[in-house]
Symmetry: none
Subunit: 198 residues, 4 copies
DNA sequence: CATGAATGAGTATTCATTCAT
DNA sequence: GATGAATGAATACTCATTCAT
């Protein structure tokens, strides 16, 4: 326990500068193969270290997942925030929010994918934390729906669940390149906005 | 213990057929914990046999999954078929199809859940078979959308993807008891049919 | 226990007419992959029956091996016998014996190969029987060496071990087609007969 | 707890190196029971560790075999090298080479035995490596034959195959104690060198 | 003669984790 | 901060064998 050498335990309590490397590696695998199909060895290998070394940074695989998941939520929220802040037509705003959500989910980074792909009960011990993080984001998303001028008695909850479900499920069939998140978002929102009954 | 029903030990030599038992057990676990989180021990235990005994019936865990998955698709198709066959208002028909789909997925049996929950690439060796099965069903579902009278240039593919996505994703948040598949289907279809833009 | 139907329990105590089929299948695998690497399933499959059915014919895998091994020894002895019976030049006779031995071992059938390939202690329970069978043949082979007119004090035992070793080991490197057992036998015997020291 | 002997925890960080222990254990079993009849449990047990722990050192049973086999070839080559390097009578040299070969094979260590006992295709994945190793040694052995002054048109290849076969097959019947490798080698070489035809 | 169904013990291998250094 | 070495429990799967039918 060196009491002097370290410049200042308060300002730099723990450097841990390879931490982002680990998070990136983990996010990559979790997004790609899922939590349960990823081993600590996979992650360590990709981060250029040995499995045991991961435990200096995270107490368990589950805690590592929480960290990745939290970062994923943070990024989706950050991606959606500008769209949400915009003034103007609420339908247009919803479309932009959806586009940002989709982009974060499908293309921008592994972190976003993790949030949609990993089911909280894959990691029972921390399931509650994951659910809380997910809920946190869904409240954000709700605001975009809440701002919509809708006929009275419209079921806004169903609207939100439907839209979010459609968006999230797209991870299942979406293939990069054929269509942009932006245009997909437009299609989906149009289907809701425009009357379909001829 | 029906004392009469059994035809005769000669005609029915002894097909205890614990095979459906195995399938049920597997379906239960796959639906509940996912494919990768289920062990052959789990399944064997629930079926009242030893792990090795499973291999008399299925050559591998993956083939067992295919059997469960196929049965799942069969059941969803069977559930949806009557609704699809109905004459009358196409929107009404779509609603009934969605209700049947949701019921099969959320309540009726584990088999339906497996089809939605298990990702084909969890079992790489048979992934193609699973995809084929899933596609087979989706073609069935498409018919309900195809029958809709829609304004020209409506994007029917997007409509199908959106609806199916919303339906399937419901597995994530749906909790039995609060709301019936029937009523949920009605809500979703209404949101599409009725104009939302005031 | 039908007392009448069977023609005559004494003359045909047990038909067992698929037995040769089983032996052939077993010989094939034992020769090819070795005893330990062959499963009863392999054999049953090749014989067109189920694994359990083999136990009607043989009490255990080990006993099946004994049967195959015995048949192998029988065949090698039968192949060598005519050459051994010949009159005339003893060196010529030895060459013919070696040629017959090699042919039985390398080309004629799987049974011969089994005798050379399978080590008695691969099947501990019956090891002694296998050794006895092998010894039985070696005594036969010895006669060909015993008949040789050799300088006094020649070590006939070493000669037999050397020749038999060279012959048996050929299974390791011999590839059908390049050279006949006949010509290989001639080469080996010549090396012994002719003086090499110039 | 030796307080002095250990040079310094810094220079010799802690290379317990139980690896040779594992190799020895594996060599012992492979030589004794054969590759396929040896389990990783056997080896681990003899090395004083748990089965899983072996995989820290070797990626698979097959790779472990390669390591043992390579060491075996190395040892036989090393044993034969001095004899091969000798000047003087080529027949005498051949005899010494054979004696060294036999000693390595029959008495000196399990490693040598493994090379002769284990058939490359017992471990299909690495079979090619094993064959390459074996060939490597056989080229060494060939030199001893190549140095022999022989009548023109003598078949040197057959001579090498015959001698090596006789030597290697001796593993089958040789029992320590009765006769030394040295004397056995002399017998074999004499049989070739001296004219047998009276 | 043969099968259908199962057993129980064994196989190689994987994995999250630990901990002294 | 990280490693080398190991643990212990789990995993999918295999195999010789059994036995009622």
């Amino acid at each position: 326990m060196p009491a002097v050498a370290r410049p200042s335990p308060a300002t730099a309590p723990r450097a841990d500068n390879r931490l982002p490397l680990i998070l990136d590696a983990a996010a990559g695998f979790f997004a790609d193969k899922g939590y349960g199909y990823t081993s600590m060895r996979d992650i360590a290998g990709a981060a250029g270290m040995l499995p045991g070394s991961l435990y200096y940074h995270f107490a368990s695989k589950e805690e590592l997942l929480v960290a990745v998941y939290a970062e994923g939520v943070r990024r989706i929220k950050a991606a959606v925030a500008p769209a949400l802040a915009r003034d103007g037509d609420p339908w247009e705003r919803l479309e932009q929010v959806c586009a940002a959500h989709l982009a974060a989910l499908l293309e921008d980074s592994d972190y976003g994918q993790v949030v949609v792909r990993v089911r909280p009960d894959d990691a029972p011990v921390v399931a509650a934390q994951l659910v809380a993080l997910r809920d946190e984001y869904e409240r954000t998303f709700s605001q975009a729906v809440a701002g919509l001028p809708l006929p009275p008695r419209t079921d806004r909850r169903a609207l939100r669940l439907m839209l979010l479900g459609a968006l999230n499920w797209s991870q299942t069939w979406y293939r990069t390149g054929k269509e942009s998140p932006q245009s997909l978002a437009r299609r989906f929102v149009r289907l809701l906005r425009d009357p379909l009954e001829s």
